[in-house]
Symmetry: C2
Subunit: 414 residues, 2 copies
């Protein structure tokens, strides 16, 4: 094809949409067949407690009434969080050719057992059980994605903090079973942070096997905001303004592992390692974070007495960011799209956040028109799918075939 | 005076310089006469341990060689950290009419006993002893400042976290003894954060007595960056890049109490309460922090499911900032001065950071010329002193008298 033909072709093709932020998982009790039998008894005990905790969390951390109202008319479609046939319908409805799948959260009560879901961290959990829960989810997820590996990029849950060797073994199992994306804890609590050299063998195996590491927004020190008895029965027992603190800090907690990995030289030593930060917004956190890191890398005037903390890095923090890190921008608003050159148009990967109520589903197609109309088609295609195709190394030809059936028409950019 | 005469007068007057960030304190052993006698025995034991820890901290956290080289030619002048006659000479040399005085840090080994200095926080310290150390420093500081209360604004150390009643009693003692500025811990560890209503009586007494609350940059979770054995004997035992993480996060930890106080409604309920953030820079942290808080106050599109966390606040976060918070901008570089309209020219209070090596002393006068030349005189006068005069309610006439003898000539703005 000549260049002109290629441009004409691209412009006529339907848009390949990749959601970099979807969620799936079983209702907790249904994980039983995927949990090793030696943990069945404790799982049976954990199920009602977990459900109670999730309900409590929904009525304190979230607003149950709003969720209930939102859920009522779409009850059947929400089973796409675990039912494959519903899932396919949801993707077709939204025009999504491929999706990156994280574990689920509170809304659908379908979290992996033993705290191995989105809130994965070091707190209040028995290491052995968290591993058991994570691997149960990973087994189910591998099976779910095997329905069509071209379309479903499952993000396995890896409780890295407890045991690096076990994490390496788990990553190998994941890759052997078709999962080459993983999520590790955003907060390390009393464990060593991610600049510790003990994690090097883990980064090494991820780099070698082309495994993409993910951090998903959500974890934060909730008891500091909401009070030590969080989650409380009654929202009125919360400390005042707690949610304001949470939404003002949660992005910082998401970016924090990268602050440690960049300064710790992780990307210097593992130059092909890939990391994605998901649902942490774009304009609020990313530009000032990069500016500050780069400033500390280049400015020596005021910090001479602090010694050398730069010479082990051959590149600036923003250069590591450009090479090693990508942004799962989720339901990016028009305001952020218009500032895309501040972020880097190659660094924003849209996501629907299905099945969460703050996501674009089930109004994704009208969201596309509202947010993307009038922008250059090349930029729009990048943000909606091409960036993710490149970053995850997806099968573009196969996805074009799917997009040609269900994808949005490029006229959405008119 | 007519307005024209007043302008001519102002332009001819020497500049009133107020340093919003100076440090003073005794070498630890010398605090003994200020410590209650029942703690003398344990102080005798603590002195050599503290000195060893400070030396260890200097050789790991800081670069001892650089500090040594810096100290060598100015050994005598550095005793101004506790010697009043040297202090007066230092202020005259720098052209400083008045100063805000924090406890000292590592450089001069003159920290209050029992962890009651700049690193004041909840960690690894016996509450009773920390109170004993804080009150010892406060007694000495009150005496030191009484040499000339017009010029010396001492910041008392108040370990608020342990005991709110005791903190209120201490604040009353401070005010009775001429100290109407206090410093409270930047980090609360396992204690309740500052949105907890248990602190309301403390805010109330500070508001009533016109006591200004300070947070000074420095505290951060060092063991996360440097390793659990921090401070280590040998800098090469540190985890890689630890200092990069520290300098990239320390401002966030400084601003964090304000995130909690604003959302918690502290400034809503105590509208005359005044807070100062000292040595946390200006352009890197402040504008994005305010932008994010205001966004979370106004944007409801994506957070409906999170409930109401705004209606208890009658103003936006940036409006509370404008009314209740000020910035001790310390050795502000020219770059930040040029962006003064981004910060608010009324919100920047310069400080020399004497006697710290990253400060402008003993080159303050040449720093003034380099950084302030060519800027409008009115803006320059605000940043160098008038903002602090207004905020702390200082005796302007008396300070003009002092400035007329030692202050810089307004030609520095030419």
């Amino acid at each position: 094809m000549s260049e002109i033909e290629s441009q004409a072709r691209q412009s006529a093709d339907r848009v390949i949409v990749v959601s970099s932020d979807c969620h799936a998982g079983l209702p907790i009790a249904h994980y039983k067949p995927y949990v090793e039998s030696k943990y069945h008894e404790i799982l049976d005990m954990a199920v009602p407690i977990t459900i109670e905790m999730l309900q409590k969390a929904e009525s304190s951390f979230l607003i149950k009434e709003i969720n209930d109202e939102w859920r009522a008319p779409i009850k059947q479609q929400l089973t796409g969080a675990w039912d494959y046939q519903e899932r396919i319908k949801m993707l077709a409805g939204d025009g999504i050719a491929a999706e990156v799948i994280f574990p689920d959260g509170i809304t659908e009560m379908n979290t992996p057992p033993f705290g191995a879901g989105l809130g994965l961290s070091s707190r209040d959990m028995d290491p052995e059980l968290q591993w058991a829960g994570a691997m149960a989810h990973n087994r189910w997820l591998a099976q779910f994605c095997s329905n069509n590996p071209v379309r479903h990029i499952g993000v396995a849950s890896i409780p890295l903090l407890w045991d690096v060797d076990k994490a390496i073994e788990a990553v190998r199992w994941c890759v052997d079973n078709g999962l080459s994306s993983v999520m590790i804890p955003t907060m390390w609590g009393e464990h060593d942070a991610y600049h510790h050299t003990k994690y090097h063998p883990f980064w090494e195996v991820c780099e070698d096997l082309g495994v993409v590491i993910h951090f998903h927004s959500g974890p934060a020190p909730h008891p500091e905001y909401f009070g030590k008895n969080f989650p409380v029965e009654d929202k009125s027992d919360e400390l005042p303004g707690a949610m304001g603190m949470y939404v003002s800090e949660v992005m910082w907690w998401l970016y924090r592992p990268l602050t440690f990995m960049i300064w710790g030289g992780v990307f210097e030593q593992f130059p092909r390692l890939k990391v994605v930060l998901t649902e942490g917004g774009t304009v609020f956190m990313l530009p000032p974070w990069l500016r500050l890191l780069d400033h500390n890398y280049t400015d020596v005037q005021f910090s001479a007495k602090l010694g050398d903390f730069r010479s082990h890095l051959s590149m600036s923090p923003s250069e590591y960011f450009a090479r090693n890190i990508n942004i799962g921008a989720s339901c990016i608003p028009r305001r952020d799209i218009e500032l895309r050159n501040l972020i880097g148009v190659d660094k924003m990967m849209w996501g629907s956040d299905y099945p969460h109520p703050e996501g674009t589903w089930p109004n994704t197609r009208s969201y596309f028109s509202e947010v993307f109309s009038g922008m250059p088609e090349a930029d729009g295609r990048k943000i909606l799918g091409e960036n993710a195709v490149d970053w995850y190394g997806l099968d573009r030809a196969a996805l074009q075939g799917i997009a040609d059936e269900i994808g949005p028409d490029p006229s959405l950019f008119d």
